[in-house]
Symmetry: C2
Subunit: 377 residues, 2 copies
């Protein structure tokens, strides 16, 4: 354990050093260009839908190869150039060199000021520094957690596993099978977490907090040798990355449980493939092997839930029609699912199963689904 | 420990039995009325602003003594009467007798059906059963957690304390000083939690997740012998009740940290006094001894944060003008605070302190505030 922790500490330091080295090289390149009398430029991969592709083989949304150059001596680029430099300086000097983490908002406040002798602000609004951060991430080919930038954390987990987590030099061993009714709160940065004593054989992710509480009270994870996690709605970055690590590093299958509606499918697809807005980070946040365990539109009939369905709204129909065209929903089973929804125009919440009995989801629905491998891809 | 847990188990069973007995008595009263040929009636304290008072002595929003009668044989009451009976039956038979918990939505789905021989639904929309639950709570003079009804949980905690939590017969001992960077997720029901090994001397509650992460990374709770908790915005019921228990049972002072704006004051006042909508539950959810540690409008000057303030919006001004008239903001220091805001028309986020330095809040601002007892009441 002591050796493992020493190794982890060194691994984390090596990761910081690698980023520091990349930042240094970027700086040196710019200085060289200035010394030569060139117009210094940053190379930044283009984001946005015109440079986002679906990588069929790896099943991820990824950035294409379009690159933009941002020049210091260009009226349209100069301010953004400066903002990217402010981000670089903050990440290097305030965060990585001190081994501290901060939020995007901390960075904004730290670097916002009036430029001496002018009425110009370095950063007017936070969205400017946020964009500069994304630019900086993609130009370094990394992701913000490695730059020690935290996002809003969300999600809870419990199950048959011990993890160690590190806060600077303090290392805690956390037994996720002993988290009471609360569960362990999944942090915003999970790079430092190590997996120990893994008894779990799969991960069940519930979109809803209420389902986590249900499954935890029913000791579902104990009876079924698994982890139970909730994302409490759309999954936060920390939860997505944690899930990816559980899947890729431990080889645990991941099953995702949402409401039977287009919003549920969207939550699922974001965890699985990444999102358009964050296509540059699918590699670090996506979980392409995840399965959709339910609730499916077919379940409504199969489990006789017709009387507790909800009429689909126009916005649901519209969303479903759009999703039907997405490349990553083109598989036969998903087309059948979406068509069934468009035909019946009904949706259902996962809690509709409570109409059968409170523990039906834990004792019947999920075990049946898993035994029959009744998943959508 | 074993004896304490046995006692706790018995205490929890006694609490369930007490509610079961109350439900039984209510049922017997109704049956007696029916047998006598009377019109059976439920007595339900009136909620809503016309029956909400500010209890000056105990510093809580409370219900007045207006009582409404709900009759079975009254066209306007009959459906609500039936819905309250459905709630009573679910709470008694499905939850308390099985020692299970459920959400308001589970109850809705479990009791929603078409009444035989009619096209009438027992419950059309969830808000109907939600109202019936509140009626039932106040008529039994209890709160929904004691009825084993869960709300959406939110909030994380860490610090110098061990708690035990119980999920049915499983008892976990949770060391809140060993929760890594995530913290322990505060559950929706906290009645079963017992406090052990309390090293903490006060509780610091940050409205914002980001502040929890900052303070946890800086080991604030370790250096300052305290608990650090975040409510992640407006506090959930579980977090409010947990805070009350920390304050009243352990005698720990509670300091609340929000943005310097009317929304922050509102979050504070809900934790402290309860809310209008939940006045019937202030006794169980309020924390009248809590102090507002910041950020105050005076702090903006004192800590030289003028350059990182935000112009107040019309809605902020309007909200502040309303709050100025609330009885529970009538104390001199709050009137000064609100007037200062109305005069300057600026607000500030707590993260504005990051403009000084990342760890300023942990190393300077909070220790100074606490040493100087620089609080608002």
């Amino acid at each position: 354990m002591v050796i493992a922790e020493k190794n982890n500490k060194e691994k984390l330091k090596a990761s910081r050093d690698e980023i520091l080295e990349k930042i240094k090289r970027t700086g040196e390149k710019l200085i060289k260009e200035i010394d030569k009398g060139d117009n210094p430029a940053l190379e930044i991969p283009v984001r946005g839908s015109r440079n986002v592709e679906f990588d069929e083989k790896n099943k991820k949304l990824v950035l294409g190869d379009k690159i933009a150059h941002r020049y210091l001596f260009n009226v349209g680029h100069a301010k953004k150039f400066m903002q990217t430099m402010l981000v670089a300086s903050y990440v290097k000097k305030d965060l990585l060199e001190n081994n501290l983490t901060a939020t995007l908002r901390d960075l904004y406040y730290a670097k916002k000021r009036t430029i001496a002798g002018t009425k110009e602000e370095t950063i007017e609004e936070q969205k400017e520094s946020d964009l500069a951060i994304v630019d900086f991430e993609v130009s370094l080919d990394t992701f913000r957690e490695k730059l020690h930038l935290r996002a809003e954390p969300k999600g809870r987990i419990a199950g048959d596993m011990v993890v160690t987590d590190r806060v600077r030099d303090k290392v805690d061993s956390i037994d996720l099978s002993r988290m009471g009714s609360g569960g362990w709160a999944v942090p915003s940065i999970v790079e430092q977490i190590e997996f120990k004593d893994v008894g779990a054989e799969y991960v069940l992710v519930a979109e809803k907090n209420a389902l986590f509480d249900r499954l935890n009270e029913d000791e579902y994870w104990k009876k079924n040798k698994c982890m139970v996690m909730t994302t409490a709605g759309q999954a936060a970055r920390g939860a997505r990355r944690f899930l990816q690590r559980l899947n890729e590093e431990l080889g645990l299958p991941v099953y995702i449980l949402t409401d039977a509606d287009p919003y549920g499918w969207y939550i699922y697809s974001t965890m699985k493939y990444g999102s358009m807005a964050l296509a540059h980070e699918s590699d670090r946040l996506g979980c392409p092997n995840a399965h959709f365990i339910g609730m499916s539109i077919s379940d409504i009939e199969h489990y006789d839930l017709r009387s507790v369905t909800i009429k689909a709204k126009d916005v649901d129909i519209k969303r479903a029609e759009e999703m039907k065209e997405y490349e990553w929903f083109k598989s036969k089973p998903w087309q059948v699912e979406i068509n069934k929804f468009l035909e019946k125009k009904i949706k259902a919440e996962i809690q509709a199963l409570s109409s059968k009995s409170l523990q039906y989801v834990s004792n019947t629905y999920l075990p049946e689904k898993i035994a029959n491998k009744d998943f959508l891809p």
